[in-house]
Amino acid sequence: MRLARRGFWIVAIVLFGALVGCGDSASETPKQVPGVELTEITIAGFEQVIAEQKGKVVYVDVWFLGCPPCVENFPHVVELHRKHAADGLVVMSVDINDKELKKKEKVVNFLMKHEAQFPNYILTDDKRKVIEWQKKNGAEFTPGVILFDRTGERIPVPEDAPNDEIEAVLTKLLATK
């Protein structure tokens, strides 16, 4: 994790100014939440992060803020983290489309609002590379889920799989020590 972060700009989301300057009304400004970070990363860096998680089950939420179904699904992702982190589940979010500073600030606000206290990344590669990466990982359509078992093997998740089915798969994977 440390390696992947080195050399990349870590977005200091605790900067109050960024939150205030987001353009939303003051009432929409979320409270500061410790442990919520948004980190810029390349695909190569992110793959290294995943490789470092062997021994754990990893759930990656592929999303972006301008994607209505992604936003709708995000509370479920947070809930998965709350329910299963203690059992060895590592939840991560990967934003594929909000590189611009203005958008990044809104993403930070969103993550704070939902108390997304798990690793949150934003991919910095160009659009075409990101699409290729999504396809390679079975997450072409957003919101997408990329799932890894404890050995680091990717477990295919059908595009239309309902959340409860995915959670059932997760529970089984977590039970495998």
């Binding site: 301008g66 994607c67 209505p68 179904p69 489309n97 699409i131 072409e140 359509f141 239309d160």
Partner: protein
């Protein structure tokens, strides 16, 4: 009388086919949509924000219109699409008109069209041409590119040069809707 009606129908069909063949723009029939893009939503649930309509409609049957300019024909088409969407709510038919122009004039005229025509379901949006033309292969000659798709795959592609989108042509587009709607 029958002959006149037949001739008028034939002229409409020929005209429509000729338009479709004249200009090639957008993903073609059988092709998948190129993917996510974030137009500024002028109306709809995300009005005032950049929001991905491709993502919103997902695999649902959808009418997606890309327009370079406002015209009477387009306004009529929007009205007809709206009616069709309301009539096919059970099929989750989605619809959007995306102007390839982000000028304030387009935004205000789109709002007026929505207000005057009581357009509630069809989302009106706009995007800078440079942000979509290449990915969606939208050609300059096409003033209006209409995609009827389902499961993110185009079933009907119709394009019109400036001034060619007539009410009759709009009606023909609507007549193609069963191609994307679930069979009863």
């Amino acid at each position: 009388m029958k002959k006149i009606l037949f001739a008028a129908l034939l002229a409409t069909v020929i005209g429509y086919s000729a338009n479709a063949a004249d200009v090639k723009s957008g993903p073609q029939t059988g092709e998948a949509l190129p993917g996510a893009f974030e137009p500024f939503n002028i109306t709809g649930p995300a009005a005032g924000e950049e929001s991905c309509l491709y993502c919103r409609f997902g695999k649902d049957p959808t009418v997606m219109v890309f327009a370079r300019s406002q015209s009477e024909g387009l306004t009529k088409l929007i009205g007809k699409i709206e009616k069709a969407v309301v009539a096919n709510k059970a099929a989750s038919l989605g619809s959007a008109v995306i102007y390839l122009d982000t000028a304030d004039g387009i935004k205000s005229s789109a709002k007026k069209i929505a207000e005057d025509g009581k357009i509630k379901e069809t989302i009106l949006a706009c995007i800078k041409p440079a942000d979509i033309e290449e990915d969606y292969k939208l050609t300059k000659e096409a003033d209006v590119t209409i995609l009827l798709y389902t499961n993110r795959k185009v079933q009907v592609n119709v394009t019109f040069k400036a001034g060619e989108l007539t009410e009759a042509a709009a009606e023909k587009v609507i007549a193609d809707l069963p191609k994307i709607l679930p069979t009863k």
